[in-house]
Symmetry: C2
């Protein structure tokens, strides 16, 4: 049997994935069902599934870590062998691995392999993908982020502190001219970064081209004055050809960033934009709740962000401390740390991405965010925390600078506020 045709170099390495499962089957049987379904198996033994093929292409169960019995089934409709009522479900962590020859270095095939039909198998009353680990061949197959932390600092001229950003609000309804007027206010206030809302794409009341041109004119005017060009993450999420045209416009017009709503555009679209793009790519995770909101189905952010990093995203949203959503603070910080953890350990290209904190953020959470992350390599987006500051937007931005300075110096914000009135006002207003 000739498995490796001429012209294609042999790939080496294994793809690894870890899952949380809940099942009433014996753990070994359940894990074998996962491995079979996602590699060479089917629901009945078939002639072509030879021992040689199984050995080479069958997914391997690397480990099963029994987490013990649970009271009832988390999700309905699972089945059990024999007398179902007599068996109580158990939870476990299961590690699977695949020969990279199964899927080659096609990212969509990896997605199908580690997610695929697993969530629907009747053996399971809970199934979450906890982690995925790509072998080094993927670092050659996909470019990864082009800018990430260092490139974003270079494009914005911001060093020694986090980038301070905001989202254009109201999310929808502003005309291009109104958006530009708001951008003028925001840039005058001292922001480093502004972005479209994920709901703002290319609608008739704010066509992308007109909005982008209007905002860039404002950005350029300020850059002429200050020597610093703020970064505008313009939301290009849409059909491939439209996104390409918009990316071309951004580049031609001297923009430095484009935003992609990852779940709306999808993996292949994001890869395509990365290969076409000369600017930083800002990844918004709207719809993330679909994968994260249930503790019993879905995937971890640790696994999720690796796909988008490999696809070439530079900034990844991670929510924020004390956010307006459901996510606990520890989960937010784990996501941010994941973004800053190298994937391949390569020195020749960016190997981390920049986490973006957003959602109900103000100077109140700034110090803790900084302290818990242990670095200033992040983008910190505030809406009301800037616009609703009692002293106005410029005071709002100043309150964030104060908060980060205090954090960098190891001084409690409350103490630092005694000599920094903007911080003091923010802590009063938002605390």
């Amino acid at each position: 049997m000739k498995f490796i045709p001429a012209g294609k170099p042999a790939l080496t390495g294994r793809l690894n994935a870890t899952y949380l499962i809940e099942t009433r089957y014996p753990m070994e049987v359940a894990a074998a069902a996962m491995a079979g379904e996602q590699s060479s198996g089917t629901f009945r033994p078939i002639p072509g599934e030879t021992p040689e093929l199984l050995l080479r292409f069958g997914a391997r169960v690397e480990f099963i870590e029994d987490l013990g019995e649970v009271d009832g089934e988390a999700l309905p409709f699972s089945r059990a062998p024999g007398d179902a009522a007599a068996v109580r479900p158990r939870r476990a962590k299961v590690g699977l691995s695949w020969n990279i020859e199964n899927m080659g270095t096609v990212l969509a095939s990896v997605w199908s392999t580690v997610l695929g039909n697993l969530f629907e198998l009747h053996h399971f009353s809970a199934m979450r993908l906890l982690d995925v680990s790509f072998p080094d061949v993927f670092a050659d197959a996909y470019p990864g982020p082009a800018f990430a932390v260092e490139g974003t600092r270079r494009l914005t001229g911001v060093t020694g502190r986090p980038l301070i950003g905001t989202i254009v609000k109201p999310s929808v309804g502003l005309t291009p001219r109104e958006t530009a007027t708001l951008a003028d206010t925001l840039i005058s206030a001292g922001l480093d970064f502004i972005k479209d809302d994920e709901l703002m794409g290319d609608p008739p009341h704010s066509p992308f081209e007109q909005r982008f041109e209007a905002v860039m004119a404002v950005i350029d005017r300020h850059a002429d004055r200050t020597g610093r060009k703020i970064m505008y993450a313009a939301n290009i999420s849409g059909d491939i050809d439209a996104m390409r045209r918009q990316l071309d416009l951004i580049e031609r017009r001297g923009g430095t960033c484009a935003m992609l709503v990852l779940n709306s555009v999808g993996l292949s679209g994001v890869v395509k934009m990365r290969r076409h793009s000369a600017v930083a790519l800002h990844g918004h995770r709207a719809g993330w709740g679909l994968f994260s909101r249930s503790p019993d189905v879905g995937m971890s952010y640790l696994a999720y962000q690796k796909f988008w990093r490999l696809a070439g995203i530079d900034h990844m949203h991670v929510n924020g401390l004390s956010n307006k959503f459901c996510e606990p603070d520890d989960s937010v910080m784990a996501s941010a740390h994941a973004c800053l953890t190298p994937m391949f350990g390569r020195a020749d290209r960016p190997d981390t991405v920049m986490p973006v904190f957003s959602s109900g953020q103000t100077a109140v959470q700034a110090g803790e965010t900084y302290g818990r992350l242990g670095t200033n390599d992040f983008i910190y987006c505030c809406g009301g925390g800037i616009m609703a500051h009692p002293g106005g937007p410029a005071a709002g931005v100043q309150s964030l600078h104060d908060a980060f300075e205090a954090a960098a110096a190891g001084i409690p914000a409350r103490d630092y506020a005694a000599t920094h009135p903007e911080l003091e006002a923010a802590l009063q207003a938002f605390g």
Copy 2:
């Protein structure tokens, strides 16, 4: 205020979506939070959110249908106003609508709008998208399926009965030559349709080009003999440029179908392939469990399939009766009926898609599938149900013809089997 710039025609209509929610907030407050988050609102009142803007661009709560109190919260981490412990959650159906001016006819923007951050809002301990209804302007913006039922029948020459198909198994590990040998067996057995497994893309042990060429040579050889070219859904799911090259090859080589793993490729990629494709697009839903497995988060297949139909998919997988997964039979049939329900009621183009039954299917479920669907416009994929038939693959295919003939004539399969030995053997083996 000039909302509609020159050159862009005004769009009319509203996008509607229905949700199942669970909340401890007063229903009106909870529904308003959904509407605000997904349109012009933010977490604090802001200056630009004028009454005029709200009226025009704010999402509208169309209805709230209270479903009553439930015992406990389905999902963790939601919050309640005031004394949380004293408030029990209630469930409701909520209808929202948006002015189509909010997002224009950009499908990715619709995805962000009807899904977006909703699942993460702290008000909710359950949130599912039940349905979405696109205004007619989308039928002009997106081509929809090019082949669907009628085109698939034309390409395969199958009329008056369902198409009988199978999936190449083992899913991974076969070389192109081995795949072609298996295809020869399958086509000789009388199948109308064969497809790659969703795990088989463009790996080094079975490069797409070589596999496709090898299988097409077999298909052509049989077509020369029988005058009928079977349809091969070759899995092109991958990066955009690779998918385009593969589509070009399929067209050049006389293929009639390409398969896309919808969740792996993503919405923008699928739209792009539709615009580039001259062949039928077969939509696989691997990963669907991420959206469907929990009754408390995700979306219905009714909503899901509308996005992919609009994007241009011709065949949509719907699982099968008595399947190997967790899905109840009623859910399977509801999905299949959804595929065959017109979206826009237009006569000038296909307005339905062809449902594909798959997963543990044999002659045993064939009659009920036919009977409950009320039409023969579907693809029926069997693996073991054909290959593991005691009389061999050709007898397996014959057993399915028998089962569908019996169903069409209103004769119970058991009775029909008395004079049809292949059906009899299938009912014995798989019943």
